[in-house]
């Protein structure tokens, strides 16, 4: 009896300790998730009670709202160009910095710096001005004999601003790759050198396979984060998503539907479509991972 009492006591204590998370999860996450699913089947403008419309919001989204498709397209370009570029840079620089030198600390700091400040309004304002008609980027293009680009007039050029801003912040992924590189046993490289493997072979046969678990993790987290990008699109386009919806990232369009047009039902439906997309992509990465992620088997 006393054992069972002790176990009960420990369970109660356990729940007492995690109660902040539990309460917060129920109030600020679980309940809102359920509410947003319900709202996605309604028409709701905050001022009059929600009215049930069934699948109408989803129907409008898929068949009657070109802006939705545009913003989805912009977001996919942003994610599928930005994330691979960002991870490639992160890996490249991590490889460059993975050596013993007293200067490493300084370089690492400098390359990481953009990740720390990159999410701020100040940096988005800075980026906007770098790409201005008379900005640094155009001056650099002119210097190399190229013509200025009107970054705020062309939708794809404007999206390019957002992509470069995201790639510029490769620092946190670089740190994770660096930690991964440090974990590769040097004995593997020594053995390969003895067998006469060159730098490229060592990279393809040792470094890449050993890093794939880290790459997997980064790929998933960065993709999800990219789908949630809001501040740069909002600031760079001054909240409009222009030109011609070129920077209308999904979260910005959702925000506008909800808080500019008070179309809460539609915004909730958009959120669920996004959740489905993110869940599908994550599942896809997970299920394909057994073909490309290398897990060390423990040898006795």
């Amino acid at each position: 009896m006393s054992m069972r009492f002790a176990a009960w006591r420990e369970t109660l204590t356990g729940y007492a300790f995690i109660s902040p998370f539990l309460l917060g999860f129920l109030i600020f996450t679980a309940f809102p998730i359920a509410a947003s699913l319900y709202l996605s089947f309604t028409d709701y403008n905050l001022f009059s009670p929600p009215s049930w419309v069934g699948l109408e919001q989803y129907q409008t989204m898929f068949t009657g709202d070109p802006k939705f498709w545009k913003s989805l397209r912009v977001t996919f370009i942003y994610v599928f160009a930005g994330v691979p570029l960002r991870l490639s840079f992160a890996l490249l620089v991590a490889l460059l910095l993975n050596r013993a030198s007293r200067a490493i600390g300084v370089y690492r700091t400098v390359y990481y710096l953009p990740s720390i400040i990159g999410g701020s309004v100040a940096v988005s304002i800075m980026w906007r001005n770098l790409y201005g008609d008379e900005g640094v980027i155009n001056k650099a293009l002119n210097f190399f004999g190229l013509e200025s680009v009107r970054w705020f007039a062309d939708p794809l050029a404007a999206l390019w601003m957002l992509i470069t801003l995201s790639v510029w912040q490769f620092g946190s992924s670089m740190l994770i790759f660096l930690a991964g590189l440090k974990n590769i046993p040097p004995s593997l490289y020594e053995a390969a050198s003895v067998d006469g493997a060159n730098v490229l072979q060592r990279f393809i046969r040792i470094t890449m396979p050993m890093l794939t678990p880290v790459v997997l993790f980064n790929l998933i987290m960065q993709t999800i984060a990219a789908f949630m990008t809001f501040i740069p699109a909002y600031i760079i386009s001054k909240g409009e998503g222009g030109p011609l919806d070129g920077t209308l990232l999904y979260s910005l369009y959702l925000f506008r539907r909800a808080f500019v047009f008070y179309d809460m039902g539609y915004a909730a439906a958009m959120a669920w479509v996004l959740l489905a997309i993110v869940a599908l992509l994550t599942a896809l990465v997970f299920f394909t991972s057994k073909y490309w992620v290398f897990y060390e088997t423990k040898e006795d």
Partner: protein
């Protein structure tokens, strides 16, 4: 020998060249803030201001919308401090529960917590707004500060990882000495996980300082605006005459972030490397 030396030089050139490209935009922002407002874009190709002027900081600091820039900094600090204290303390409590107490549902709720790390914020955005508006919390900092006191999954995970490195014998010894769970947590675990709590506090500081969406949704009165919203006001009122002020105040808004970064970069680097999560 000569080949080695050459490779060493080439490596430094590549690393330093890349590093210069990385900081160039920030350097440009910083130095442009000392240029005369009307010259910023005329001379955008060169970094060095000619002449050097302070006036952007003077006009910028006078503020916008009838509010002194110091007001926005104070508002930001209040938000950051209240949210950070809450997030760090509550996360430590939860982390201890997950890491050290055996109870039914421990693993289940831990998985739930890790899943919320991957949940796009858009899914809860609209209902949260409705919830806070029903509670009458609009136009106050409560919707931004209060949820922070219910634990942040990222910090909880970071601290769990840290607690797991502390030998369990310590808990057992304390329990035998008649120490209750809360005393064990407060007297023994908390002092030991200070580094993880510090790392969490640093990240919390960054996210709150830079946050725009929360203030954009919940604060309508400029007198409550944090720095991020003040900069947005500068941007909305963008004209040739205030470019300089906008640049100068952007620099000012980055200074606290940079100071914290240079003071605590070891903790930041370790926090990212050990959790593998983005900062």
């Amino acid at each position: 020998m000569a080949g080695r030396r050459l490779r060493w030089i080439a490596w430094h050139l590549a690393a330093a060249g890349g590093a210069f490209l990385m900081v160039y935009p920030v350097l440009w922002l910083f130095l442009s803030s000392f240029k005369k407002s009307e010259l910023i874009f005329v001379t955008s190709g060169s970094l060095i201001p000619d002449p050097w002027v302070w006036e952007n900081y003077v006009t910028g600091w006078q503020g916008i919308g009838g509010l002194h820039f110091g007001v926005f900094i104070k508002n930001s600090l209040v938000l950051v401090v209240l949210a950070t204290i809450g997030a760090v303390l509550s996360s430590a409590l939860v982390a201890f529960g997950f890491a050290r107490l055996k109870f039914m549902g421990n693993r289940f709720w831990f998985s739930v917590m890790m899943l919320t790390l991957m949940l796009p914020f858009e899914v809860t955005l609209v209902p949260q707004y409705i919830l806070f508006s029903e509670l009458g919390w609009l136009n106050s900092i409560k919707p931004i500060v209060v949820p922070a006191w219910f634990g942040a999954p990222f910090f909880i995970f970071l601290m769990i990882q840290f607690i797991r490195t502390i030998p369990a014998e310590l808990d057992e010894a304390a329990t035998i000495d008649g120490c209750g769970k809360f005393r064990l947590f407060w007297r023994i675990i908390v002092p030991l996980i200070m580094p993880a709590m510090a790392t969490s506090a640093i990240f919390s500081f960054y996210w709150r300082w830079e946050d725009l969406l929360g203030p954009l949704l919940y604060l309508n009165r400029p007198s409550l605006y944090p720095v991020s919203m003040a900069l947005k006001m500068y941007l909305d009122a963008e004209t040739i005459s205030n470019w300089g002020a906008m640049f100068a105040m952007s620099v000012v808004s980055l200074i606290p972030v940079l100071i914290v970064f240079f003071l605590f970069q070891r903790q930041i680097v370790e926090g990212i490397s050990t959790t593998g999560l983005k900062g």
